[in-house]
Amino acid sequence: MIERQRPHSKVSLEDLLRLKRAERPAPEFWAEFDAQLRRKQLAAIVDKRPWWRRLSTASLARISIPVGATAVIAFTLVMVRERTQSVPGNAPITASAAVSSSSSGSTKPTHTIQSSEADVAGSLVAASDHQAALVTTNASAMTAPASVSAPDRSLSGNNDSVVAIEDAPETSLAQVILGLEGTTESDARPQFQSDAVPLLASLDVFGSASAHDPSSLESSPLTQVSAPRDDRRARLLASVDTQDRGDLVSGNSRVVRSRERIANRLAEQSLYDSISRLGLNGDSVSIKF
């Protein structure tokens, strides 16, 4: 068809390109064009805020309340945590140790530490972070096989062990030594009364197995602590027992002299052991297990 028209064509390339001028939209197109342009123009007139201003006004306005509440909660938690952490370090458990001297002539005087419920509860929070419940225990007494008069005794510790027992200034080292003196290996272990067991159980310091059974305290870390050179002490005591049996046969004077010598050696040994485990620091005495 085009080939058939070619002999009649007298147009140039410029004429063909001018046909492109005739490619125009219909008149009604311009009404829509003007309407759209008007909308865009009005939208362009509206001042566009910078993105940081939109962020600050829109986004921060939405999240301001949650962020504020979270900040307050976080601040409160931090303050409470700092306060609870500062309590055991600055003011450890103040236990009024009412030492009851050995009544009825017993060689095992009970060392009673009475703690107020509030102090115990406060120390519990510091001792175990993961233990949320406040344990109100009626830890009325904790007996130790020591004839030590300790009016104030502080027990500070964490999850692992009892670190130190701070004595009052008036507690003399000699008294502590005497308390350790004359005790056998089994006596050296503190014997906790049944009232103190819930306290230890709540502390979760010595294990849960020994918490409710007093007899199981033998397996607790505190009771498993043995004084150094116990073997030697046991060996000496065994020899004393042997000698006791021999006293029936041999003379009493020899026996008495031998026992005195052994007793002196034991006292010296206990003194050395106590000194090595006791640390005097100002007005407090720390015991190392």
């Binding site: 070619r6 009649h8 063909l16 001018r18 005739a22 490619e23 064009f33 342009l37 865009k40 123009q41």
Partner: protein, 211 residues
């Protein structure tokens, strides 16, 4: 007043019509710059078809041409305070439109979708079509449609810059100097591009043109 305007507005074209047109545009621009926003509508009505035509012949898509033309007017409106009258307003407006279209075509190079306007047979166009065919009725419409497809196909074979030069020179009637100003290139570059583009078009449309 007019003397001062002429000293500011220095259109490159020397024809009295273009000079008068540039002065008229400059007055309107000054009104818009003074705060008369409605005065800009006169510029829109005056140049919307030409701007749309340039963009349409470059993009070969009527929808994109409408959007780009509107965006060009919006950009011109937003930047009207920076127009100092160093060139004619329509040259400045063309520059905005051409640059927007070039940016759009570069982005949408892989997305080629074409939609064409219908050729309105008027005095000049009808005469050209009559020279090409003597058909009437539906056959004539079919011939015109086929011719239009061939024309646009040949135009689309040109590069964007060559297509722009051809559009501005052959279709819109701008001078070499004006095209150079719009495309921010030298007049020699415009002539070179125009010559090369016309050679390609001649080869593509030789079946319609004089041998």
């Amino acid at each position: 007043m007019s003397v001062g305007l002429k000293s500011l507005a220095k259109p490159l074209v020397g024809s009295p019509e273009r000079q008068h047109e540039a002065d008229s545009d400059w007055q309107i621009v000054q009104k818009v710059q003074a705060g008369d926003v409605a005065a800009f509508d006169r510029l829109i009505v005056k140049y919307r078809e030409r701007v749309y035509g340039v963009i349409y012949n470059m993009a070969a898509n009527r929808e994109d041409a409408a959007d780009l033309a509107q965006d060009s007017f919006i950009k011109a409106f937003q930047s009207i305070n920076r127009f100092q009258g160093q060139s004619s307003f329509f040259t400045w407006l063309y520059r905005i439109a051409v640059n927007s279209t070039l940016t759009h075509l570069r982005k949408a190079r892989l997305r080629s979708f074409f939609s064409f306007e219908k050729i309105h047979e008027e005095d000049k166009s009808a005469e050209i079509i009559n020279q090409l065919t003597d058909k009437k009725g539906a056959d004539r419409e079919l011939f015109v449609k086929e011719l239009q497809e061939k024309l646009n196909e040949a135009m689309l074979k040109l590069s964007i810059k060559h297509r722009t030069v051809v559009t501005l020179f052959e279709i819109d009637g701008l001078s070499h100097e004006e095209i150079a100003e719009v495309m921010d290139c030298s007049v020699g570059t415009v002539r070179s591009r125009l010559h090369y583009a016309k050679q390609l078009l001649q080869a593509e449309l030789q079946s319609y043109t004089q041998s």
